[in-house]
Amino acid sequence: MQLVLERRAERSTVVAVASPLIAIALTLVTVAVLFAIIGKNPLVALYVYFVEPLTDSFTLQEIAVKATPLVMIAVGLSLCYIANIWNIGAEGQFVAGAVCGSWLAVRTNGTDVGHWVLVVMLILGATGGALYGLIPALCRVYFGASEILTSLMLVYIANLGLDYMVRGPWRDPHGLNFPTTAEFDPAASIGTLLEGTGRLHAGSIIALVVVMLVTVLLGRTIMGFEIRLVGAAPKAARFSGFNADQLVLFTFAVSGALAGLAGIIEVAGPIGHLDPGVASGYGFTAIIVAFLGRLNPVGILFAGLFLALTFIGGEGAQISLKVPLDLTKVFQGILLFYVLACDSLIVYRIRLLRTVRKAAPAHA
């Protein structure tokens, strides 16, 4: 007997809707088994990871804070991935946006210049991210260089550039020699939304607006149609005269801008200053979010919230269950594996193939 893949006559809508849920369920089972193996009660662990963060206003707000950059970056990445364009350097574009936006905050630090500063910072952040994202896009369009490798190399370059800025020219003179800029002025910061101890900030609203705008872009515009067509049928797209190069530049610029915007929001919001650790892997986790959300903006919103839940749950588990923080990353990796495997079942079905035995004597 043998298991083989067989192409379905048409895409299975049932599996398409169920696949992220099946993937999450499979991940939960795997996680439970892993916890049992390391000697923790799986039910308690699952509760700490996935339910406890939902029971408290502070952690609920933290989930929204974590989800904000993830959703913004992932929505941009989904545009690329739908069109089979592989921007995996969102982490670098996030940093580029954070650095460009912070330039103004650092320049105006201590002066009383008013709230336009924040608006310009956000614009600078998005522009910086877009320009940084355009580098791999241009390398691909004009030289044919693989955007996968160049966009990733630029992550390391961006992080080193950030490191230089906060250790060199922008270092806070009163910062006890720590590699960080001075805390941003209130005029250059995004305030919290709710009274009390939570950190929910206006950036989350921007993320929601982005989700809506990209939904419209994908579903209601020629550009969105082009992106979907190039992804689904590249040959047909070429024959109908769509410009593939333009699409590479457009998707990289948009996803770069969104990652850059997420970067400056993160810095001007929850962090409040620029330091070498601002990116902390959002750009890579957003790849998981994009696929878990099935490359659909609304799906990505939920996927981002779910991934944020695992982060906050993981922090809780680190304290109350004494499990390492890296466990969360392992879970996220496993989740992505399951998501991809389940997605395959939308197009294929698995069949058990009975190989006909050669007529061998039964008693042999």
Binding site: L3, V4, L5, R7, Y81, W86, I88, C139, Y142, F143, G144, A145, S146, I148, L149, T150, L152, M153, L154, Y156, I157, L160, G161, D163, Y164, R167, G168, F284, T285, I287, I288, F291, P324, L325, D326, L327, T328, K329, V330, F331, Q332, G333, I334, L336, F337, L340, A341, D343, S344, L345, V347, Y348, L353
Partner: protein, 316 residues
């Protein structure tokens, strides 16, 4: 100015610099050798970085617990091959997109290595011993370079020679290249495309695991999370640079090894360039080289295996 140039040249051609270049190049050569075979079979495994870092954590763990470098290296090899099997099952068994799965493998590997390596952070081991032959190693200038390396260096050279022989001088190598260039024809001729690719993927994983293990076993005698710092991605770029050919791969690996430690080596000369800029060199070089290589080659006449990255589901 002239004096500075002569200082730099003196440094670059010193024996100690060349020795460090070899050490920096060996993990790149090991990892990219494996990936070359994988890509020649038509599979693009972007999870190199993930398999390397898991190999580094397991390799160090094995060596620390057993006290033996060889056991550590073996642990790295097994760990790399095991993680590559996840990739193989998904992309070959379930026909999942190879780019996405490779990324998943890297994310997973970085988490897993942190988990495995957490116990070993801060511990130290005795690094791999260097060869010492009575007369030969003491030849001034070249002795240390040719006869005074650690065992991994010789293994990496033997490996790439073996791969060259396999690809161009054996029937199995010919079949592997055929599978990579046209999986439909290879399948029609009766070759088990998916099985061959699975074996190639596992070989690539083993090489990546060994490459990762090299870092804590010979390069620096301790484990730090994320210590591969992009070497897996550079190794991927190297395969493109080498046009999927073993001989060019060796040249590329040593060139990149040299670039990657140039920043560190030039530090004592106080050139007035920020350290971060020097540390950017290997990544900048990768981008520049990719651009130049892709440009001269053009998009149409690519040397890549024709079926590279294309999903294959056999019809029966």
């Amino acid at each position: 100015m002239l004096e500075m140039l002569s200082n730099i040249l003196q440094l670059i051609f010193s024996e100690s610099f060349i020795l460090t270049v070899v050490t920096a190049s060996t993990p790149l050569l090991l990892a990219s050798s494996g990936e070359l075979v994988v890509e020649r079979s038509g599979v693009l495994n972007l999870g190199l970085e993930g398999m390397m870092i898991v190999g580094a954590a397991c390799g160090f763990g094995g060596a620390y617990l057993s006290g033996s470098i060889a056991v550590g290296a073996l642990c790295g090899i097994v760990a790399g091959a095991a993680t590559s099997m996840i990739f193989g099952i998904l992309t070959l068994g379930l026909a999942v997109n190879q780019v996405a799965t490779g990324l998943a493998l890297t994310i997973f590997g970085i988490g897993l290595s942190g988990l495995i390596g957490a116990k070993f952070v801060g511990e130290k081991i005795v690094p791999a011993a260097h060869l010492h032959l009575p007369v030969l190693t003491d030849i001034p200038g070249v002795g240390g370079i040719l006869f005074g390396e650690d065992a991994f260096v010789y293994i990496s050279v033997a490996l790439i020679i073996g791969i060259w022989l396999f690809l161009y001088r054996t029937r199995a190598g010919l079949v592997l290249r055929a599978v990579g260039d046209n999986h439909t024809s290879a399948h029609a001729l009766g070759y088990p495309v998916l099985r061959i690719r699975m074996l190639a993927v596992m070989f690539g994983g083993a090489c990546a695991g060994l490459a990762g293990a090299y870092l804590p076993l010979a390069y620096t005698p301790f484990f730090i999370p994320g210590m591969t710092s992009g070497r897996g991605w550079i190794a991927l770029a190297l395969v493109v640079f080498a046009s999927w050919r073993p001989v060019r791969l060796v040249i590329g690996a040593y060139l990149f090894g040299a670039v990657s430690i140039l920043g560190l080596a030039l530090q004592p000369l106080h050139l007035g360039i920020p350290q971060q800029v020097m540390n950017m060199l290997p990544y900048l070089a990768t981008v520049v080289v990719l651009v130049l290589i892709s440009r001269t080659r053009g998009t149409a006449g690519s040397a890549a295996p024709a079926s590279l990255g294309v999903v294959f589901v056999p019809d029966r």
